[in-house]
């Protein structure tokens, strides 16, 4: 599969995850979200940036528990919970947030 955007072609896997994470850009994330009828607000971006920072350090997406903990630190305790995360990303943090953030999908017994 591919995403065509602003005259460039981006390779993705069958589930729409970027094959080459280096090709990611904020604009591309917005385009992926727009294709899902989702508009990225400030809190979405907090989550996406946490994912990207963690990935840069550990080469894997963070466990949900850690993502939520970091979100709590930045957005306050009332937003540090799984239901709020699913409100932001109804298809789930792995399937949706990681895809917008240009991370590969975490795979295992999860």
């Amino acid at each position: 599969m591919v995403i065509e955007f602003k005259g460039r072609v981006y390779q993705t896997d069958a589930e729409g995850f970027l094959v080459n994470p280096d090709e990611w850009s904020e604009e591309l994330a917005e385009k992926m979200a727009a294709d899902d009828d989702c508009e990225l607000g400030a809190d979405h971006w907090v989550a996406i940036n946490i994912l990207r920072d963690y990935y840069a350090q550990y080469a894997i997406a963070p466990p949900i528990r850690i993502l939520i903990r970091h979100m709590g630190k930045q957005l306050g305790r009332e937003k540090a919970n799984s239901p709020y995360l699913y409100e932001l990303f109804p298809f789930g943090p792995a399937k949706q947030a990681c895809r917008y953030a240009g991370l590969p999908k975490p795979t295992g017994c999860i």
Binding site: A14, R65, G108, C109, I110
Partner: protein, 485 residues
């Protein structure tokens, strides 16, 4: 509905034009990476399989088409697809075996059900050997004990040999090879996660429960599925284990190099990779100097540990000659319980009614304890010890008759969600019955795949994803913690 109601057998439906398939390596179509001389290679590989695995040959020879297995597979019960009857799944290989590897099949193919290995038949293999979770329920009912799991493993290893490699399983195997665990979690990520868990448990209980990593000189190495570092409710099971070790004052450790209990090589019948993955454990045992390996809540890990480790990395029953003692976490905790050492407070669970899902690889592929049915008794006794309200599901759906969760054996991948949801229906029916009749609120499991699968599929049946819990989460939440440690 009553707890003992009979299972509904579906009407056989017309086969789909294109049966549901998993993704194969970087291709949408199963045959697009097929090697040129696939037929020759496949027939040759099948020959190797039947020579190296005598059981496989007996299974292929001995079916008398009695029909006992036809309504025993959860995927058939879920979708009525005739090729999901275990006998039909076996026949996909059996016809090819007869055609190329038996005299009668070579001379009189039509008389003995022999079949040419054509590309459409290969397409059926690539669909239906990935609609089998290798759970072995059908084998319990077969009067000859024919084990479809062995046949599926052989089918998959032949598919692998001709270039049809299932993406999910091979991504996981690559992660294990590259990093050491299924998720591809590097050491620093595990360390960061464990530090976070220590903080969480301290915030919640005020007790400094430790999660040691690579602690050389520890007595116990806990080998968990890497999902226990990552996913819910798996991580709650790991927390429960840590609380038990803490209460008992046991020096234990996790390992960055043996950070995975699972062994997906079993699913594709790859003995070489199975050995490599198992070797990580014996290397970690030597490096850390532990006396005992405790295998955490991972279904097929325990199958591999109890049934294959003796051949792969030595007899886990003795501690002499560099060997080590191997236990399932339920055996380990049960022994503490039996000795009266485990201090539990049942009142924390007074609002719950719990049932137990026997994970197929544990219930039908391994053993625990010294008595024949300890493998069913021990987890239940632990749940009863932690929670006064425990109810079993219908007898034909538990213990050796348990239904697979629907996501086992390498099927826990999103593109197979339809298969996973329909395959879960026999288990969910039994669960719905105990919810209706006994007010069951939670279902405990001892397998990472079962837990992830139910979290994904229960909402499709209008049930909450939080119903599924780890056994050691239930036990761990009831553990009375020593504050002075």
């Amino acid at each position: 509905m009553s707890a003992t109601r009979k299972l509904d057998i579906p009407k056989i439906r017309q086969r789909d034009e294109a049966a549901k398939k998993p993704y194969f390596r970087s291709q949408d179509d199963a045959t697009s990476q097929l090697i040129d001389d696939w037929q020759t290679v496949a027939v040759q590989k099948l020959g190797e399989e039947i020579r190296s695995n005598r059981a496989l040959r007996v299974f292929l020879d001995s079916c008398v088409k009695c029909g006992a297995c036809t309504d025993k597979c959860h995927y058939f019960l879920g979708d009525g697809d005739p090729l999901n009857m275990p006998v039909a799944r076996q026949d996909l290989i059996r016809g090819v075996y007869r055609r190329y590897h038996t005299l009668a099949g070579r001379l009189f193919p039509k008389l003995v059900g022999a079949r040419e290995f054509t590309e459409p038949l290969l397409q059926d293999w690539s669909a239906y050997y990935y609609q089998c979770s290798e759970c072995r329920r059908c084998a319990v009912f077969c009067p000859f004990g024919i084990d479809t799991a062995e046949i599926t493993m052989a089918g998959r290893s032949i598919l692998d040999a001709v270039g049809v490699k299932q993406n999910y399983i091979h991504t996981v195997l690559d992660n294990v090879e590259r990093v050491g665990n299924n998720l591809g979690m590097i050491g620093p990520a595990i360390a960061d996660t464990l530090a976070g868990l220590e903080e969480d448990v301290f915030d919640e209980t005020g007790v400094n429960v430790r999660f040691p990593l690579d602690d050389a000189g520890a007595d116990v190495l806990l080998l968990v599925p890497s999902a226990d570092f990552f996913a819910e409710p798996h991580v709650d099971g790991l927390i429960g284990c840590a609380k038990i070790f803490h209460q008992q004052g046991i020096r234990w450790t996790l390992s960055t190099t043996a950070s995975e209990a699972a062994n997906f090589a079993l699913f594709v019948g790859d003995e070489e990779k199975m050995q490599t993955i198992a070797d990580r454990v014996s290397a970690a045992v030597r490096e850390l100097g532990v006396k005992q390996v405790v295998v955490g809540e991972c279904g097929h890990a325990w199958r591999v540990a109890s049934s294959y480790w003796p051949g792969l990395i030595g007899d886990g029953t003795s501690t002499d000659a560099g060997g080590f003692d191997t236990r399932h976490i339920c055996e380990f905790t049960h022994e503490l319980f039996r000795k009266g050492a485990l201090r539990l407070d049942q009142t924390v669970h007074s609002d719950k009614v719990i049932t137990f899902h026997d994970s197929c690889n544990v219930a039908r592929g391994s053993r625990m304890g010294k008595q024949p049915r300890d493998i069913y008794r021990m987890p239940r006794e632990l749940l009863r010890a932690a929670c006064e309200n425990f109810v079993d599901m219908a007898p034909d759906t538990i213990c050796e008759y348990t239904f697979c969760c629907g996501g086992g054996g390498g099927l826990l991948t999103d593109e197979l969600m339809d298969v996973r949801v329909s395959g879960a229906s026999p288990r969910v029916n039994a669960l719905e019955a105990v919810i209706a009749n006994h007010g069951v609120t939670h279902m405990a499991a001892i397998c990472a795949i079962c837990k992830s699968q139910f979290r994904s599929v229960l909402p499709h049946y209008g049930l909450g994803m939080d119903m599924i819990v780890s056994l050691h989460q239930i036990v761990g939440d009831a553990v009375v913690l020593n504050r002075q440690m």
